[in-house]
Subunit: 319 residues, 3 copies
C-alpha cells in the first residue's frame, strides 16, 4: 500500500479486514517492522480516537511517533498555490510538507472540511495540496470528504459480529445534532458498504442526500421506519446538508432520533456509531449502552485498522 486516504487505495478489501483481525489476535507480532522509522501525525483539527489509536498502532510496530498540532504548536498554513502571503498564514503547506517528508517515513494528516466552500472540500483541496508536496506515504486521519480508518474499523466490526451465511442488512440512519457536522464519516461508510458483502440502505430526511459518488449502489429510503425493517446493523450518524452545503436544514427533524420502539422492526439489530456521540441527542443512552451496542468494539478496532494500514505501508517501504 502506498497511501491510505480512500477505499481506492485498497487492493482487496476482504483480505485487508482479515489481516486486521489477525493482527488484533496478536498485536505485538511485528514489533520491529518500523524500527528506525518515524511517523509524523499532523493535526489541523482535534482528535482523540484517531490520535491515540494511530500512536499506539505505530508503537506496536516499533515506529517512532512525532505529533504536530498545527496552529497550536507550529505556524498557520497557507494552502493556495501562488498565494501572496501577506496575511496571517505564516508557512505554505508546500514548504511544511516537504520538510516533514524529510523527517518522517510516513505522515498522517487530519484536515476536516470547512463546511463553507463545497467545491474546495469536495476536491479534497487541503489533503490534496498536502499530498502533492509530500514525498512519503500519507495516511488520512480524516479529511474533508472521507474517514477511511473509521470505515475499515467499522467493516472489521461488522465482520466480527456477523456469522450468518446470508448478507446482513446494514442501515445508515441520519440523526439529529445541535451543530453542522461534516459528511466525511457518512460518505466513507457508504463508500465502503457499497463494496462490502452487505445489503446497504441509507435513510435521512429529504435534503440530506450524500454526494452521489459516495452512495452509488446504496438504496436511499426517506422513510426511516421502512428503512429499518429487518435491519441487522444500524449505523447512526448526523451530517449536515451536502446540497445546501454545510447547513442544518429548517424543519423539525427531532423525530429522527433512534429509539427502542423504532428498533423493534429490525432483526434485533446491532447499533453502531463512530464516536464522539452527543448522547440523548443523536442516540439515547439506552441504545448506546445496551447489549446490542457495538460502539466500543468499533473504537477498539480503530487501533487494528491503523495498525494493518501502517503495516502494509511499511512493507511497501521495506521492499
Amino acid at each position: 500500500m502506498k497511501n491510505f486516504t480512500a477505499l481506492s487505495d485498497v487492493t482487496n478489501i476482504d483480505e485487508l479486514v482479515q489481516e486486521a483481525l489477525k493482527l488484533k489476535a496478536n498485536p505485538l507480532s511485528f514489533p520491529s517492522l518500523g524500527e528506525g522509522k518515524t511517523i509524523g501525525l499532523v493535526f489541523l483539527n482535534p482528535s482523540l480516537r484517531t490520535r491515540m489509536s494511530t500512536q499506539k498502532a505505530a508503537m506496536n510496530l516499533g515506529l517512532n511517533v512525532m505529533v504536530l498540532n498545527v496552529n497550536q504548536e507550529s505556524w498557520a498554513w497557507e494552502f493556495e498555490d501562488g498565494a501572496i502571503m501577506n496575511g496571517t498564514k505564516v508557512e505554505h503547506v508546500k514548504d511544511a510538507t516537504a520538510v516533514l517528508s524529510q523527517y518522517c517515513d510516513i505522515v498522517g494528516i487530519r484536515c476536516f472540511s470547512s463546511l463553507e466552500n463545497r467545491e474546495e472540500d469536495e476536491s479534497e483541496f487541503v489533503l490534496n495540496q498536502f499530498m502533492k508536496y509530500c514525498t512519503v506515504p500519507v495516511v488520512s486521519l480524516e479529511s474533508a470528504t472521507r474517514h477511511p480508518l473509521q470505515s475499515l474499523a467499522d467493516l472489521m466490526t461488522l465482520t466480527e459480529a456477523w456469522n450468518q451465511p446470508h448478507k446482513p442488512k446494514v442501515v445508515l440512519t441520519w440523526a439529529p445534532h445541535v451543530k453542522p457536522l461534516p459528511q466525511a464519516v457518512a460518505n466513507s461508510f457508504s463508500e465502503w458498504m457499497c463494496k462490502a458483502q452487505v445489503d446497504f440502505v441509507i435513510t435521512h430526511p429529504e435534503g440530506y442526500e450524500l454526494q452521489s459518488s459516495f452512495s452509488q449502489g446504496a438504496i436511499i429510503e426517506y422513510n426511516q421506519q421502512k428503512a429499518l425493517q429487518d435491519a441487522d446493523f444500524v449505523y447512526v450518524k448526523n451530517w449536515s446538508s451536502y446540497h445546501d452545503y454545510g447547513k442544518i436544514l429548517s424543519g423539525n427533524h427531532d423525530h429522527w432520533l433512534l429509539n427502542e420502539t423504532k428498533m423493534k422492526v429490525t432483526q434485533n439489530a446491532k447499533i453502531m456509531h463512530c464516536l464522539p456521540v452527543r448522547r440523548n441527542v443523536e442516540l439515547s443512552d439506552a441504545l448506546l449502552d445496551g447489549k446490542n451496542s457495538l460502539i466500543q468494539q468499533q473504537a477498539g478496532n480503530r487501533l487494528f485498522a491503523a495498525q494493518i494500514v501502517l503495516k502494509s505501508i511499511l512493507e511497501g517501504l521495506n521492499q
Copy 2:
C-alpha cells in the same frame, strides 16, 4: 496496587517509601517491566512536574507514553450521566474513558477542583466518573481533593531528611496567595502525615479549616508562631477556604507570610513546598533558596514516587 488516587490505595505506607527510595538509588533497574504496555496521561489542567516526572517514570520502566491534553487536542468532555448533550460538550467521559481503556494499560488523569461546587468537588465527581468507566488501573495526577503523588514524594523527602530516633514535628502552615487555590495538596499532605511517624500540626487563619476527614488526627493551631515552635519541618502552602467554598476570606492575612524571623523558634526547620510557588508572596526567596529548603528535593522525588506507583501497578497487571 490496583489504582493510586488516595492514601487508602496503599497497603503499607512505610514499605512504599522504602521501595521508592530504593528505586531512586537505581532508577533503571526495571527497564523492561512495562515492555509492550502503554500509559495514557490525560490532562484536563496544566502540569509541569507531574507531566514530566510521570512520563520519565514510565520510560524508566519501558512503558510507552501517550499524552492527551483534553480541550486543546481533543474534545470537551461531559461528565453528567444521562445528560442531554445539546451544549458545548462534545464527548461523554463514559465513551472517552472506555476508548482509552482499550488503547492503554494504565491511565493517569489530572482534574482540578472547580472551587465552585463544593459538593461536586468533595465527591470527586470528575475523577470518580472517569474511574467508573475506566477498565484499567487509574493513577491520579491530582484530583479535586487530593494529590497523592505529591504526598508520597513529600514523605520520601521527610524520610531522607530525618535521621533522629524521635518523631519529627511537621507543621503545615497556610500562606498568602493572590488567587484562590484548591485544597488538594494540603488535604493530601495532611492525610498522609496523620498516618506517618510524625507529630503533625496545621496552622492557618480561622475560616481556612480543611475538611475534617483529611485533618483527622492533626493538631489545629490558629497561632502560627505557636505552631512553629520546635518544628523540624515546615510545609508552606496556600489554599482557599473550604467552608466558604473556594473563596479568599476577607481580612488582611499578609502577616502569614513565613520569614526568617518566624523560623527562629523552630529546630532549624527544613522548608517544604510542592511548587509552583509564588515567590515573595507565599514565601520569601531567602527561605526558598536557603540551605534549609527541600523544595527541589521534593520535586526530584516526584519522579520516583511516580515510578514506584507505576511499578506496583505493573506488577499487579503482570500477575
Copy 3:
C-alpha cells in the same frame, strides 16, 4: 560540547560540519548513545522544523524525548529574579528549570525576542536566566539574538553545494515582510559566515544594520544590486530594525524583493532561506521552487545539525 547556544560553544567549526555530514551519510550509526537518557524540549514559541528535527535527531541517538509547551500545557513563567509574584506568572524559571534539570539529561529551549525591550533581548535575558538555573547542558532552539542550529545547517548546506577551490561569495539580503521579525536568524548566519571560509556581504536598507558584534568582519553594502554582483549564494531573510528596535521602518522597501532579473548579475547563485517563508512577499515562488533553491536541503540538514550537537553533548556527558 557542554552547551550549544552560540558559535562560541563550537571548538572547531569545520570539524563540526564534517562530522555532521558524516552523520547524514549514516544517521543510525549511534543508535544507543543516548540510551537511558532523556532530552526535554521546552517551547515558549511555536516551532515546526526545530521541533521535529530535534525530536528525530534525539530518537536517532536513542534518547527519550519529552516536549513541554509552556503557556499551553504548563504554567506561565516569571523570569525576573527577586520578583514579587503577585501577577499572572505562576512559576519562576528558577524553580521550573531546576526541576527540569532533575528529570532531563539535556534541555533544549526556544525563546524568541520580545522585539520590545532591546536591552533585555540583547542580553539574552530569558535564555540566560534559564541557563543560570539549569544544571544540565542546554541547546538553544532559537533565542532572542541567535539561532545556531539553523546556522550550522546553513553552513552544512553551503559546504555540500560548493566544490570550487576558491572561497564562495555569500550575500545575506534583507527582504520585505508584513510584520516585524526578530534578528536572530540574520545575526546568527552573519556570526557563522564571518568565521567560515567565505567572502561575506550583507545588504539591507539603511536603518536595518544588525548589531555590530554579529556583523564584525562582514562587508555592509546598501546597494542590493551591487551586493549581488558575482554572488555564489544569496541568503534571503527579513528582520526588523535593531536601531529603532523591533520596528518596520517607514518608506517603501518593496523593491528589495528578490527576483530573477536581479539574480542575473550573480554567478548563477544558489538561493537560501531558513523557512518559514512568506512566499511572494519575501521571495517569489519562481526562485523558491527553482533549481537553484537550497531551501529544502537546508531544512533537511537541520536534522543532522541537531544530531551532531546532541551527539557531542552526549559524548561529553558519558566521559
